[in-house]
Amino acid sequence: MESVSFESVVEQYYEPLYRFAFSLARTEADACDLTQQTFYVWATKGHQLRDKNSAKTWLFTTLHRVFLQGRRRETRFPHDPLNETDDQLPFICPVMANELDWEQVLDALGRVDENYQAAVALFYLQECSYREIAEILEVPIGTVKSRLARGLGQLKKILIQTSPSSRIGKAQHE
């Protein structure tokens, strides 16, 4: 097996880690802090990892933990809790999805229940399988899927509500 240097780990993962951090923190400064803190922890403890294939999961897990530790210290701005999605599945048509810019999507993610945000971010960043997402969030796969179902529903509902040219597509029953 090939040896892995710290620099190569940074090179390979700093961009996806930063994007995950930004999805959670939604400011550049906080996302940079999270990313740098994660690699700092890696530099001090990453050598304990024997399987290089676990590096990705280890990094994302660490970043998520650092984020949660920081969040516990802060008072969150109160946000209006969204109602749970109704039985119908919100659906965004491709045309409307194409019209969105990344800031609108991230803004909508920020309005999703914060318990679901990390799962939704990992889902779209697509760096990880469901098993890996479960490891990162330290919950069972079933919990990941239920958080995703709710989180994606909320996200799409917000995007539909905020898009000026939206049309609502709903799952049709025959």
Binding site: D33, Y40, L49, E74, T75, C93, L100, Y130, L148
Partner: protein, 263 residues
């Protein structure tokens, strides 16, 4: 399962990923994708579900592309590498030839390091130091001593062999001391003194002003005496200067106008 059940399953499907091989999606994918029916088996493809699925995949890829458009700050990688001065760590064992190569590289690096230390006197870069101190203020920390009394703070720091022969700017003297911590930077003592300005604090915060003092010789390429160098480091505004053989970094949870009142 009915069509709605399959939609709920496929709503979690990500095209172009390992989800394709996930058994949890298998039946739903068979319903949503036309495929030649094996002999003796009825094709399960549902045309309406298939149309919905195609649009779901398109929308998913479009939204995913927005996440990938999140701009990564230029220089972030260099900043990460600069923050961590520890040598590269190997996470799995070397092969014998790798050991020889590593030994040769180590000898070369030791030679270069000796040249470097001789030239630069073993000091570390100021920008890295400033960033580390700012991060210390922003991360969870516990003060070694909580006190409003500066003489008590100085006595504590002296006991920890941290710098106490500092000169406080007139503005900082008006702030209320809260306590201190004795830190280390590259093995050298750093005094961190926490203050409260009297302005409204961020939610959950106790401190909005930090002063870091270190011996000037511990930090390479440090600031000049005056005027202070003002720079934003992440969420904090900082001002840095050198005076009386000490390098000072004053950090504030506010904007530059707020910070300038204190130096």
């Amino acid at each position: 399962m009915n069509k709605e059940d399959f939609r709920k399953i496929l709503a979690l499907y990500r095209p172009g990923t390992a989800d394709r091989a996930d058994p949890g999606f298998k039946e739903a994918l068979e319903r949503a994708n036309p495929s030649p029916a094996p002999s003796g088996r009825q094709d399960k493809f549902d045309r309406e579900l298939g149309r919905w699925f195609q649009e779901h995949c398109s929308s998913h890829l479009s939204i995913r592309s927005k996440f990938l458009q999140i701009p990564v700050p230029p220089g972030l990688k260099d900043q990460i590498l600069a923050e961590v001065r520890t040598p590269a760590r190997n996470v799995i064992p070397f092969r014998p030839m790798d050991l020889l190569r590593a030994a040769a590289i180590l000898v070369l690096c030791l030679g270069l390091a000796a040249l470097f230390w001789r030239t630069h006197g073993g000091k570390d870069d100021f920008n890295t130091y400033r960033g580390r101190m700012a991060r210390t203020a922003m991360q969870p920390y516990v003060m070694d001593l909580q006190s409003h009394d500066l003489p008590s703070i100085n006595a504590f720091l002296a006991g920890r062999k941290a710098p106490t022969d500092y000169v406080l700017p007139a503005g900082v003297l008006k702030a209320q001391p809260l306590g201190c911590a004795a830190l280390k930077w590259q093995g050298q003592p750093v005094s961190m003194i926490c203050f409260r300005s009297g302005q409204p604090l961020p939610a959950g915060g106790q401190t909005d002003l930090w002063l870091f003092i270190v011996d000037q010789s511990s930090v390479r390429n440090g600031p000049s005496a005056r005027p202070p160098i003002v720079a934003r480091v992440s969420k904090l505004m900082t001002a840095a200067w050198t005076q009386g053989g000490k390098t000072y970094v004053l950090a504030a949870a506010g904007d530059e106008e707020f910070l300038r009142k204190y130096f």
